[in-house]
């Protein structure tokens, strides 16, 4: 191997390119920019203002933050459902004046005051909610108007009661505890905010009602169409928002104990800036309590620092305006371009050199011939994509198709077909269990069983989550082929954990070990990943010793043997290290050897590109997917080999006239039945000199 190859190999081993794309698929990555902004703000102002994080300064800041972030949480709830609430500032002021008036002028008791204040805010929210939710008004203008009206009401109340409030004295320790007390080392308002944020977080992420809210914001139309009471959900968010704002006003009242004309003026802008800066999307569907808290901390620090630095009010609003603009711009551009960025970086090819391909010259084991030319065609034009075919002891043929069914061609002439079972996903590899049930790998769904009574049952659709991967690989995305060990354990391959069924060709560009082999044990009903980092593992076939199986890795062009039992347990040994094509399914032959389907042949250009990951990456970024250089999957052959890896026979259909596109083959009573994932037929070939009594189920489970 040349020096440059070695360097390249180490470069792609050391730098995990694929992680970037995987990180971008995560929802929590939305928080990255807000947290970055928060850290910047803390660093800048923390160093610009001496004693910024001193104890007294911090306690004061925290109390204000407690009240402020309640407002941001209120706004967040409404925004997540696709609305906006500009009346938060006025409702806050209303809560403040109502609480003070009730306590010091009307001399109500503490609990009654708290209840009445929150009810007041909820009432304002209800007005908003009915107007926006039920009457379908525009949220922005409606809440703008309620802002003005509520503010006017506050002004009227102020005129009436401000003197009385200033003169009155509230004799209640509980009241001062709200404003000055500590709980668990935190100022009370902070404690309350944290509790409320936690409740909101649980509501939004774990409960039905929270999902309704998110769904409504994500797509109001779809939410309506699936039967979510959209109007009620929207209305409810405003009510919650109003109640939270009033509560915040109450806390403010207990801290300062005075009502001024400027209480809460412009607070809606500050709260909006905080909510958007935290990453809550305008227009809904994306937001969380944590985002609201992050945003509120950032804005709180900014606004407070500006005051402490002694700049005029003009600079403060200039900064606030610019930050709001920047936050909205980032939000809009991020939402619009995230998937573009993702599609740019998700495909991350790696260095995957293959040894020079074996020749198919006349004197080679793979010599070209026309042995597949005389196949009989079954179901020509009547079946769409039989990836695998299998026959039972009554000689019926079972095959999956593209529309999610397993169809059965009836013996003896296979003219007639019937729907055997509807599964829904894409049936791929199949095998018979000892009890005669049909086991199927279903792309996108997992491992399934169709009993003799045609009942479709799920065996497993998840395995253990790998500890140190970024994408969640517990769910099966592309179960491909399977085989059954003598003790009933089912070993099946999952071709790739990074792509879905229909994107399987894209995985060939990466050629990384994205696949794995998984074992399902019906005795304990448990699923366990046993082999990881395989390059598109595909066909699996039990050897005759009952202790190992053969498996094919498609993009690595090799067949290996894995021992799951016996003295060599856990070992992987190469069987055919270098094939001239891309191997697919493996199945048993009647004479103790194995059949292997080559789905396509290697080409020098693709082989070369496997040494040039940069080239493949540029290709994936810059040109349309249908222009990409893919491995050939149209011309292949059937290979027979033995356990030592010796090639015994090769069958071609040159020109692909009678049976192009092979992904599997199954020997049964002296005939070979051939399937292809994008083919419209099943081929049947008479095998010269084969055991005409041999069947697959019998070879596995003996004569029944």
């Amino acid at each position: 191997m040349s020096v440059s190859d070695t360097l390249m190999r180490w470069r792609y081993r050391a730098v995990p390119d694929h992680l970037l794309g995987e990180i971008l698929t995560k929802r929590w990555i939305d928080n990255a920019i807000p947290i970055l902004i928060l850290m910047t703000v803390v660093t800048v102002f923390g160093s610009a203002i001496p004693d910024f994080f001193g104890a007294s300064s911090l306690a004061n800041l925290l109390r204000q933050w407690g009240e402020f972030s309640l407002l941001v949480l209120a706004l967040m709830i409404v925004m997540v459902a696709g609305g906006i609430d500009l009346s938060v500032g006025s409702t806050f002021a209303l809560g403040n004046i109502v609480a003070l008036t009730l306590l010091s002028v009307a001399e109500w008791s503490m609990p009654a005051t708290i209840a009445a204040t929150i009810a007041c805010g909820a009432a304002v929210g209800l007005v908003n909610g009915v107007l926006v939710g039920y009457l379908r008004l525009r949220a922005f203008l409606t809440t703008l108007v309620t802002l003005i009206i509520v503010r006017a009401i506050v002004d009227i109340l102020l005129l009436k009661y401000s003197v009385a409030i200033a003169g009155g004295f509230i004799e209640s320790d509980a009241w001062y505890y709200l404003g000055e007390g500590f709980l668990l080392g935190m100022p009370f308002s902070v404690f309350m905010t944290v509790v409320i944020a936690a409740i909101l977080h649980l509501l939004l992420s774990r409960t039905r009602i929270g999902w309704h809210v998110l769904a409504t914001g994500g797509s109001r139309r779809s939410a309506h169409n699936v039967g979510i009471p959209v109007r009620r959900v929207v209305c409810m968010t405003y009510v919650i928002s109003g109640a939270l704002c009033a509560l915040s006003g109450l806390l403010f009242a207990s801290r300062l104990g005075g009502a001024g004309a400027d209480t809460g003026i412009g607070l809606e802008i500050t709260a909006l800036t905080a909510a958007v800066l935290g990453g809550n999307s305008l227009g809904g569907g994306r937001g969380s309590a944590i985002k609201a808290l992050i945003g509120s901390i950032t804005v709180m620090i900014m606004v407070n620092s500006m005051v402490r630095l002694g700049v005029t009010s003009g600079a403060n609003s200039l900064l606030l305006g610019l930050v709001l603009l920047a936050a909205v711009a980032i939000d809009v551009r991020w939402l619009k371009n995230r998937h573009k960025l993702l599609s740019n970086v998700y495909v991350s090819p790696t260095f995957a050199p293959l040894p020079p391909a074996p020749t198919t010259e006349a004197d080679s084991p793979y010599a070209l011939n026309d042995k597949l030319r005389p196949v009989d065609l079954i179901g020509l034009g009547a079946i769409d994509g039989p990836e695998d075919v299998i026959l039972d002891e009554d000689d019926h043929i079972y095959a999956g198709n593209r529309t999610g069914d397993i169809v059965r061609f009836l013996a003896p002439d296979y003219k007639e077909q019937e729907l055997y079972a509807h599964i829904g996903g894409r049936p791929l590899g199949m095998a018979f269990a000892p009890d005669g049930a049909l086991l199927v790998c279903v792309g996108g769904m997992g491992l399934y069983r169709v009993t003799k009574q045609r009942v479709v049952e799920k065996l497993t659709d998840e395995t253990n989550r790998s500890l140190f991967t970024i994408i969640d690989d517990s769910r099966l995305r592309l179960a491909d082929d399977l085989d059954v060990a003598p003790d009933g354990r089912i070993f099946f391959s999952e071709a790739t954990v990074r792509y879905d069924m229909h994107e399987w060709p894209v995985d060939s560009l990466e050629a990384r070990g994205n696949g794995r082999i998984i074992c399902y044990d019906p005795k304990t009903n448990s699923t366990q990943t046993i082999l990881k980092n395989l390059v598109f593992p595909n066909g699996i076939c039990m050897t005759h010793d009952g202790q190992s199986f053969l498996f094919a890795e498609t993009w690595a062009c090799r067949v290996s043997r894995y021992y799951f039992d016996g003295p060599r347990k856990g070992r992987v040994e190469p069987v055919i290290p270098n094939l001239p094509g891309y191997p697919d399914n493996i199945n048993r032959a009647s004479d103790g050897t194995f059949w292997l389907a080559l789905v396509g042949m290697r080409t020098p250009s693709v082989d070369l590109s496997m040494r040039m990951p940069g080239f493949r990456k540029r290709m994936a970024r810059r040109i349309a997917p249908d222009e990409w250089l893919y491995p050939n999957i149209n011309t292949g052959c059937v290979v027979r080999f033995d356990e030592t890896g010796q090639i015994l026979d090769v069958m071609w259909d040159l020109g692909g006239e009678n049976h192009p596109m092979i992904t599997s083959m199954r020997e049964h009573k002296g005939h070979l039945y051939i399937g292809g994932i994008s083919n419209n037929r099943i081929g049947r070939l008479k095998l010269e000199g084969a055991d005409t009594g041999w069947t697959g189920p019998e070879s596995y489970w003996g004569r029944t």
Binding site: G82, G83, I84, L131, L135, R136, L137, R138, A139, F140, L141, T142, L144, V145, T146, I148, I149, R151, A152, I153, D155, I156, L159, S219, R220, R221, H224, V230, I265, G266, I269, V276, L282, G283, G284, V311, T312, S313, G314, A315, N316, S317, L318, L319, L320, G321, L322, L324, L325, V328, A329, V332, R333, K336
Partner: protein
């Protein structure tokens, strides 16, 4: 509902204005005099001019919440420049340029960066006010210097016995109507407001048109600011933080220009202005407290939006996502 459908909102509002007029004329002595009526129109003409600016933007499916802030800051800067010795035309030119640049930034943010108009202009309004207060002047109120007396005529003079602001309002209305009806760009603006994707597909330069509409609105806003400054001989920059911009929206929505864009005419602005003028005038004569006036205006605006929604219902199936 059918009957309401045929009765357009414009007609309803006009009828309401006439009814209010009759009601006030009967109940309030001194309402139906020439001087009071002239005073009424004069007092709302600034609101009307701003309404035309907002109306154009709303027809183009936008909204300009920075209108009043921009007006206050640009005109206040003009006055400040004149006070510091600059000649009047030069100062006005600079103020106008400032106004247009700010309008262009609005437009670029909305058309090219694709920030929703409501948020872009809301944030720009705050930023413009902050910019003016921090960089341009330190006082809240900028008084008109002696050398700018020429401006006073616009605000306080009269022609043929009719106050000049009324002429200004009429002129702005006329030009805007002509622009909307007879010029290519006016028609483009309506097309963009009616259906942005369709307009873009037919080859209309949608983004430049959107930018243009905010520049026009800042231009008209500047004109309104000059009239304001002329009539009270000063410019109070605090007006940027007041609810005035909502009054402007009230005029537009009340007149019947749908917020979903593409509908309405300058005529609607005139009708809306008339109703608000009558209302404010009547309430002032009746000596209703300012805060209560705000409540009443708010309730009327809410009613107007409700009627707008009932007449132009938004469907769950066709409503646009994120359209708030």
């Amino acid at each position: 509902m059918q009957g309401l459908g045929r009765l357009s909102q414009e007609k309803i509002v006009f009828g309401l204005a006439v009814l209010l007029c009759i009601g006030f004329a009967v109940m309030l002595p001194g309402f139906l005099t020439t001087s009071n009526l002239l005073n009424l129109v004069r007092s709302v003409s600034i609101l009307g001019i701003l309404g035309v600016a907002m109306g154009l933007v709303v027809i183009g499916r936008g909204i300009d919440l920075s209108l009043v802030a921009l007006m206050a800051i640009s005109v206040a800067w003009t006055l400040q420049l004149v006070a510091s010795g600059m000649s009047l035309p030069q100062a006005v030119a600079l103020g106008l340029a400032f106004s247009l640049v700010a309008g262009m930034i609005n437009g670029i943010l909305i058309a090219y960066v694709e920030i929703p108009a409501i948020f872009a202009t809301l944030a720009m309004g705050i930023a413009i006010y902050g910019f003016g207060r921090y960089f341009l002047f330190t006082l809240d109120v900028i008084y008109m210097p002696e050398s700018a007396q020429a401006l006073q005529w616009i605000g306080q003079g009269s022609l043929l016995g009719i106050p000049v602001p009324i002429f200004a309002f009429a002129a702005v209305c006329l030009v805007a109507t002509l622009f909307l009806r007879w010029t290519t760009y006016g028609r483009y603006l309506r097309a963009v407001g009616d259906n942005l994707p369709a307009a873009r597909i037919t080859g209309i330069p949608a983004r430049p048109i959107i930018t243009l509409q905010y520049m026009i609105s800042s231009l008209i806003g500047f004109a309104a600011g000059l009239v304001t400054a002329g009539s009270i001989a000063s410019m109070n920059t605090r007006v940027a933080n007041s609810t005035m911009v909502y009054d402007v929206i009230l005029v537009v929505v009340l007149g019947g220009i749908g917020l979903s864009g593409g509908r309405g005419n300058i005529r609607n602005v005139v009708v809306g202005t008339l109703l608000i003028g009558v209302l404010l005038n009547g309430m002032t004569i009746m000596n209703i407290q300012y805060t209560l006036q705000n409540v009443i205006k708010g309730v009327i605006l809410l009613t107007a939006i409700v009627i707008d929604t009932v007449l132009n219902p938004r469907d769950e199936q066709t409503a646009q996502q994120g359209d708030i």
